[in-house]
Symmetry: C2
Subunit: 447 residues, 2 copies
């Protein structure tokens, strides 16, 4: 029974980090490098059967520990029950690629770009950053064309990778679509939509506070504390039958009914995964559809995805709206391109342009704190808004996952990674300045 | 720990039945009819969350019990870890449909066909048989065109359904391809290919005996017997960590290393699922690929499948080669069409024609017994060969699954079903004569 529960340790790890940035890199205890820990080098799960020391099995304290997680991020469905996010049955809408010679030149040029990591005095090349960040896949679209695409480690073009907390941004996008379309009232109280939320601290929060994570709800993700709420959430969320004598909540939604207050709703941004699952419940209730079906109908099918995606589920079949998504790299490129293009795929308006405007506008910057690598940023509808010169905004997930949209550079960058550190605070220093450098380079190109 | 194991009760149920046919229908204790047990009528899993009495959860003794199984056959991945059988990334190869007016007329004509069920004196219409058989999906191709396609219960065109023991036929087809291509020696002993099979009864069986299930291996699937081997196999195969104190085999392959002899290899056909998993191991060893990857590369991608399929796995990530497949109805239609067309998709030879010839030739009819609804039949490379006037052969799985290929009528018929009875001996009486009737009808049509 302990077996599948512990996955949620990692899946739910917050991206917050309070360690000073300039010590972040130094703190790392020299784990295996990206090249050393490449699952093809370590030969995980090779052979029929693999040798005992190359086998990756339950529980997740094993399969999701570094370096094994470098294999497992591409294979979560082999450990957990899942629901499909269907791409539908039609032909995929092909991505447009830069002409072959141009693509090859761009690869060389981008790999050679240099930037200064945050808190460092030593320059790094873009290509070095790929390894520093334990990149599994990196795709860049510029002005609607793929200009860069590389795969590493466990990933390839027809593989799928854990999106981790980028799942939240899909949930938030779906919610924002429903808000703009008038199907969901952002000013409604949670209790008006879900009366059985009962005495939960969520009851008198507004939908908007849930969307923007400004609720005042008690939920600790301190992994060192055996009484932390994360453990109770993990047990509730396990897809397995509860052990004999278990008296806690069963599933995400029962847990949400028991959340205690902590502070006041609306006062401040607190990055807490339970908001995303609360939001998943809200949009399922108002739409009459599981978040997987909503994501299929509103996003994966109309964007012409080339792969169906999937989402892990709890023991009642409820998808993990806060972290359960796995998807193909190019398909998250398609998602990012829709965000860049105001909800359009080609000439088709897939969802209202206002949806993207609302997200890009951002949340309350004065209520945002605790993310040293994201100064001046905000969180809106489960997206990170950088409020930088380029108006960049992003989906982000632990271990280095990101969809980074730079409207000024007309660039969408998607990265899957399996960094030994969960927290993006450790990964941003070699990432955000690199993204800025490639954006500036792409802007410098003649049309 | 008990939770996920019991799925294997149902998945492994033999299609054998020794009850006299003419009492088979009478024996049924009047379960809910197909219409009454339609999961949309019973409203399983509707609502966010569903009412407690509409929730379908672990363990499989719950979720795979009738009538809940009528929902669960379309949702196995939501209960179990799985591996993808990728369709690749290209556009699907569309099936050709009869022109709309013709399709509509054929539907009426076929639904009205009558036949005499085995052991009955009362005629039944084709359409009545769909409900008698708890059909979830039925597709008929004639001369390369879809002439009939209907969905019921939990299934629709973009859904996937448990294939049950039709999985064996995919495993067997892959093995036969490797035999014909020279990559697998059908006369080799298992121990020559897999030395670590050790003292298992499989060690001195030939590959062909494993393929045709003429091994002499002890394996009982008597569900009434608490000491039956099926329980030990289920425990070994469970994808969950073994319970404390568990000392049995871990996974399909460890189990296979401990199989005891029973009778002599080659003497007789015995329908035992462990042969299929032994075969899965053999083809993975010689090809260096998991059966899921083999099925993807050799079948799903080249046949232009419109959906990726999936296969359940054990705790070591080994796909269940004897029963773990779920797939789309039309994609099994594509598979059946390749079998009818001697391994061709359009003008492309996907696998050698000799593969199909070997399967259609059949196994040892004199060694085949115990299947009263299949008199004179045989089993070859995990396919059922009827040796009837039409040269029909079939993949078959419990609860009514079939791919039925009639070369004389140039007909491929695929049925997914969720009959309350597992054994096809109960379902054949209202199925096989119906298939024959529709074949004869299609043959009577002018070109």
């Amino acid at each position: 029974m302990q077996s599948l529960q512990i996955i949620f340790f990692s899946l739910l790890v917050s991206v917050s980090v309070s360690a000073p940035i300039n010590t972040a890199l130094a703190e790392m205890k020299e784990p295996l490098s990206a090249q050393q820990s490449d699952p093809r080098v370590l030969r995980w799960m090779e052979g029929f059967p693999p040798p005992a020391d190359k086998l990756i099995t339950q529980p997740d304290s094993v399969y999701f520990s570094f370096p094994k997680l470098r294999w497992s991020v591409c294979h979560l469905r082999e450990f957990l029950p899942t629901e499909e996010i269907s791409r539908g049955l039609k032909a995929p809408l092909p991505l447009t690629y830069a002409p072959a010679h141009e693509f090859a030149e761009l690869r060389i040029a981008i790999d050679g770009l240099t930037f200064l990591p945050i808190g460092s005095s030593e320059e790094m090349t873009w290509e070095q950053s790929l390894f520093a960040n334990y990149t599994d896949g990196l795709l860049i679209l510029h002005k609607g064309k793929v200009v860069y695409e590389r795969y590493f480690g466990c990933l390839n073009e027809d593989g799928k990778h854990a999106a981790m907390s980028m799942t939240k941004s899909v949930t938030g996008l779906l919610a924002e679509i429903l808000v703009v379309e008038g199907a969901l009232d952002e000013n409604a109280l949670v209790s008006e939509i879900i009366p059985e939320i009962g005495g939960s601290a969520f009851a008198n929060a507004t939908v908007r506070e849930v969307m923007d994570m400004t609720t005042g709800v008690a939920y600790s993700e301190d992994y060192a504390d055996p009484d932390a709420d994360i453990w109770k959430y993990s047990k509730a969320a396990s897809p397995l039958p509860k052990p004999d004598g278990y008296i806690g909540p069963n599933g995400y939604w029962e847990y949400l009914q028991e959340v205690e207050p902590e502070g006041n709703h609306g006062d401040a941004f607190h990055y807490k995964t339970i908001n995303s699952d609360m939001l998943g419940w809200i949009i399922s209730r108002v739409s009459g559809k599981a978040v997987t079906d909503l994501a299929s109908e509103r996003l994966w099918i109309p964007m012409g995805a080339e792969q169906s995606a999937y989402q892990t589920v709890d023991g009642n079949g409820v998808p993990f709206a806060g972290g359960g998504l796995s998807a193909g790299l190019r398909d998250l490129g398609r998602l990012g391109a829709m965000m860049l293009n105001g909800g359009k795929v080609g000439s088709e308006q897939v969802f209202p342009e206002q949806t993207v405007r609302n997200i890009r506008y951002g949340g309350h910057r004065d209520k945002f704190a605790g993310f040293p690598t994201l100064p001046g940023a905000s969180y809106r509808s489960q997206w990170w808004v950088l409020h930088n010169d380029h108006g960049a905004f992003a989906a982000r997930g632990v271990h280095g996952q990101t969809i980074y949209v730079d409207p000024t550079a007309e660039m969408v960058l998607v990265r899957f990674a399996s960094h030994p550190q969960a927290k993006n605070g450790y990964i941003d220093p070699t990432s955000l300045p690199a993204f800025q450098a490639v954006a500036e380079y792409l802007m410098s190109l003649a049309d």
